[in-house]
């Protein structure tokens, strides 16, 4: 039965001509990754277990079919809540072309969506759907696949984001920032796993407890997803009972990625074709964000009561999680594990660092001055350094919690990489609309001291006109590929080795052109020693949010392949498809990821990458925070 449903599944994808309209790159990557990961990969929980139970550990790779059989087995034995027998029904329903047509109609016409609710076509669909609705099981989720084509499913999300962006542009008045505007908070709250719209979402994230209680869901109301959570829990605990750990289930285009953190289970269900390693990294960050809010001592609640309901503890934090998940599609820090700095003249950043160092010496553990997600300066007491992931989670927390903008605040916060068990106390104050100061201390009584520190810091920054320079840098942006110095040998005389000194007409003229020299469109340079990266500004032809997201995903994929433990690590990679030429170069000191015009010449591209590296070295004073000790514990 399970095998029937599986093949039905695949044929659904095949029947759909639009299933992969714009991602040929994915095919190339996936063939390798597919081989590597197969349908379902299990790793032994630990070696001891495998030694004791050779029959189980020898079974390292299972296929999805036998898993489904086994789920059915659990289902019959233990839990009446989900019925695997409905898997078959749902999948057949999903394949039926009738459903596909109706659904696509809905997708293609957003305005008509509500009208369609009442019209005959949907009534048919609802009746059919009724079978699937009967059980909020994994089958409910699977039903999504056959019915969605990638292009139309993405339509809803993309259009939303695009409209938001347009509106925001008029508000911000053209402030140059690569980050697409986005409205925080949970959307589609009324959905549950029976809603077709919920099933069509391309990327779901779930946090649940080991007893199967929902804790967080990206879409829909957690409480309504109890049955679905129980199903996920059953899959995880079934595999665990066999002494193994489930990492990934592949179901056609969908990947279901699992991460178990003690009593907390995290699951991502995605059809975005991101590599497994990336999705797993995103789950790790999601867990880290939860720890930042609650600390790991939340585990004790589960020791006392395994059925503990954690949702009230996370009350009001939807915006924090949704903004983190949103950053998985635009912020390279989420996969590079590095932070980025706001470009500033060297003396300016030095001045900011000096005043932060002052307060750090007076009992502040970390003093961080940031503009949006970019670091202006950062100081740790006694040379303590902050893990890039902690910085990402902290800045996400601050930026997505609106109340910090209203007034100065003092809040407990945990830095998961610093100490996951204990709270630090954060004094947070916005100095202007994008720039904020975070002072972290271990002393819960230090508020008034930190307030004094802030007053002092703010006075010094104002006096040095630093906040004005920060704002100007936000407007100008950092490295523009058009500014790449022509020839490394002539750079000594070139003014453009300084970021601030580009000719003013460059802005108007070259932005409308075709990127930088030799077809260079964009690059990301990560300094391994500094734990920092710099990303060039997006310019033509990568100027819509969709194009930026696609390039982001391409980088993410190639990053994963460069760091793949099975094949790599690679030192260089040159990859050409119809969208880009991607060139990667990893050395002991840095990693460079560059995107070129798909017609770019290989030799020229390599030469251009050398020039980019030289350029980065020339301006490293301005784009990196130097003197920050690398992360090491």
């Amino acid at each position: 039965m399970a095998s029937d449903s599986d093949s039905a599944y695949d044929s659904a994808a095949d029947q759909n001509p639009n299933s992969l309209p714009d991602t040929p790159i994915n095919h190339q990557f996936n063939s390798a990754i597919d081989d590597h990961l197969s349908s379902l990969t299990l790793t032994p929980l630990n070696d001891a277990v495998s030694d004791l139970a050779p029959s189980q550990s020898s079974n390292n790779v299972l296929d999805a079919n036998s898993l489904a059989d086994q789920i059915e087995a659990i289902d019959r034995n233990s839990s009446p809540e989900f019925e695997v027998s409905t898997v078959e029904t749902t999948l057949e329903v999903a394949v039926s072309s009738e459903v596909v047509v109706v659904v696509e109609e809905r997708e293609n016409n957003l305005e008509r969506e509500s009208n369609l609710e009442s019209d005959g076509g949907v009534v048919v669909w609802r009746e059919v759907e009724g079978d699937a609705v009967a059980s909020p099981s994994s089958s409910g989720y699977a039903g999504e696949r056959g019915s969605s084509s990638a292009s139309s499913a993405s339509g809803i999300e993309e259009i939303e984001e695009h409209q938001v962006r347009v509106r925001d542009r008029s508000l911000v008045n053209g402030i140059a920032d690569s980050q697409p505007a986005w409205i925080p908070g949970k959307r589609h709250e009324n959905e549950d796993d029976a809603s077709i719209s919920w099933r069509k979402r391309k990327k779901h994230f779930f946090i649940l407890s080991h007893s199967g209680k929902p804790i967080y869901s990206r879409y829909g109301d957690e409480h309504k997803l109890a049955g679905f959570s129980a199903t996920l829990q059953a899959i995880i605990s079934f595999v665990e009972n066999g002494g193994d750990r489930v990492k990934l289930v592949r179901a056609g285009k969908h990947q279901v990625v699992f991460l178990v953190k003690g009593p907390i289970y995290l699951v991502c269900i995605s059809c975005t074709e991101e590599p497994y390693e990336s999705l797993r990294g995103q789950l790790e960050l999601l867990y880290g964000q939860m720890i930042l809010i609650l600390t790991k001592s939340v585990n004790r609640c589960f020791e006392k009561n395994s059925k503990f309901d954690m949702t009230p503890l996370l009350g009001g934090t939807d915006a924090v999680f949704s903004s983190l998940i949103h950053s998985f599609s635009w912020n390279p820090a989420t996969f590079l594990h590095a932070y980025t700095c706001l470009p500033l003249a060297y003396p300016t950043r030095q001045a900011a660092g000096a005043i932060l160092q002052d307060v750090a010496d007076s009992g502040v553990l970390f003093a961080i001055l940031m503009c949006k997600h970019k670091v202006v300066s950062l100081v740790g007491a006694h040379k303590t350094s902050l893990h890039p992931n902690d910085m990402l989670l902290l800045s996400n927390f601050v930026m997505s919690s609106e109340s910090f903008r209203t007034s100065e605040s003092f809040s407990p916060i945990c830095l998961p990489k610093y100490n996951p068990m204990a709270f630090l106390y954060a004094y947070v104050q916005y100095l202007d609309v994008n720039t904020y100061l975070v002072l972290l201390t271990t002393n819960s009584d230090a508020f008034y001291h930190l307030k004094e520190c802030r007053i002092h810091i703010e006075a010094v920054l104002l006096k040095a006109n630093l906040l004005t320079e920060v704002q100007r840098s936000m407007l100008d942006g950092g490295m523009h590929v058009e500014d790449l110095p022509a020839d490394p040998s002539s750079r000594t005389g070139s003014a453009s080795s300084h970021l601030g000194q580009h000719s003013p007409d460059r802005f108007r003229d070259t932005r409308t052109g075709v990127g930088g020299p030799c077809g260079l469109w964009h690059f990301i340079y990560r300094s391994i020693y500094l734990d920092q990266y710099v990303s060039s500004e997006f310019s033509s032809p990568i100027n819509t949010p969709q194009q930026q997201k696609r390039l982001y995903r391409a980088y993410q994929k190639i990053y994963a392949s460069m760091h793949d433990k099975g094949f790599g690590p690679h030192k260089t990679q040159f990859r050409r498809d119809e969208n880009y030429v991607l060139l990667c170069w990893v050395t002991q000191d840095f990693e460079l990821y560059a995107a070129f015009d798909p017609l770019a010449d290989k030799a020229l591209a390599i030469k251009t990458c050398n020039r980019v590296c030289q350029w980065v070295k020339d301006v490293e004073n301005e784009i990196f925070l130097l003197g920050a000790s690398p992360f090491s514990w």
Partner: protein, 200 residues
């Protein structure tokens, strides 16, 4: 602000945690008091404070994280002033354990509930008990029924609030941060009830 003041001698701070470093200490004419707002999430604590301090009302809900700090000075008719240093605490359950950090040493506690939510009234009673046990013995407590503009959705009768407040030696007031109704009265009434340093 000079450099010296940025690093106050930490020994000058008392054991009572988040209390102001004594700069311009209270005298008979000019009082400075620490006020803490407690109550369930979503009852409108931040809205009351922002209405009082900035005269603003923002209908979009912004969940408070930890606690926000604001201050506002009011002048009374007897030509004295009271400066309120206000700790607007987060109502979420996860911050409940940290509340002592904010209410320790507070001279005033304003406990807020939402007149449309009986649960929030129950939560308010929890906070009253907590303060009776662990707060300063001479703390001035106010029980505030907020969202008074939503009369048609009222679920907690005013009498219940009044009765509970009387039993516990608090004063009772219904406010609306949205319409600004009774907001200033709340703080003026608190100011009147404060213990004055002996004015001789």
């Amino acid at each position: 602000m000079g450099c010296a003041s940025s690093v106050p001698d930490r020994t000058t701070r008392g054991p009572s945690g988040l209390n102001p470093v004594s700069e311009g200490a209270s005298d008979a004419k000019n009082l400075k008091v620490k006020l803490v707002l407690l109550g369930d999430s979503g009852v409108g604590k931040s809205c009351i404070v922002l209405r009082f301090v900035r005269g603003q009302f923002d209908p979009t809900s912004k969940v408070t994280v930890g606690a926000s700090f604001l201050s506002q000075t009011i002048a009374l008719q007897d030509s004295t002033t009271v400066k309120f240093e206000i700790w607007d605490t987060a109502g979420q359950e996860r911050y409940a354990a940290l509340a002592p950090l904010y209410y320790r040493g507070a001279a005033v506690a304003v406990i807020v509930y939402d007149i449309t939510s009986p649960e929030s009234f129950t939560k308010a009673q929890y906070w009253v008990k907590e303060l009776q046990k662990h707060g300063s013995p001479d703390i001035v407590m106010a029980l505030v029924g907020n969202k008074a503009d939503l009369q048609d959705r009222r679920e907690v009768p005013a009498e219940e609030g009044i009765e509970y407040a009387e039993k516990n030696g608090m004063f009772y007031i219904e406010t609306s941060a949205k319409t600004a109704d009774n907001i200033n009265q709340l703080f003026e009434e608190i100011a009147k009830r404060l213990q004055r340093p002996d004015s001789s």
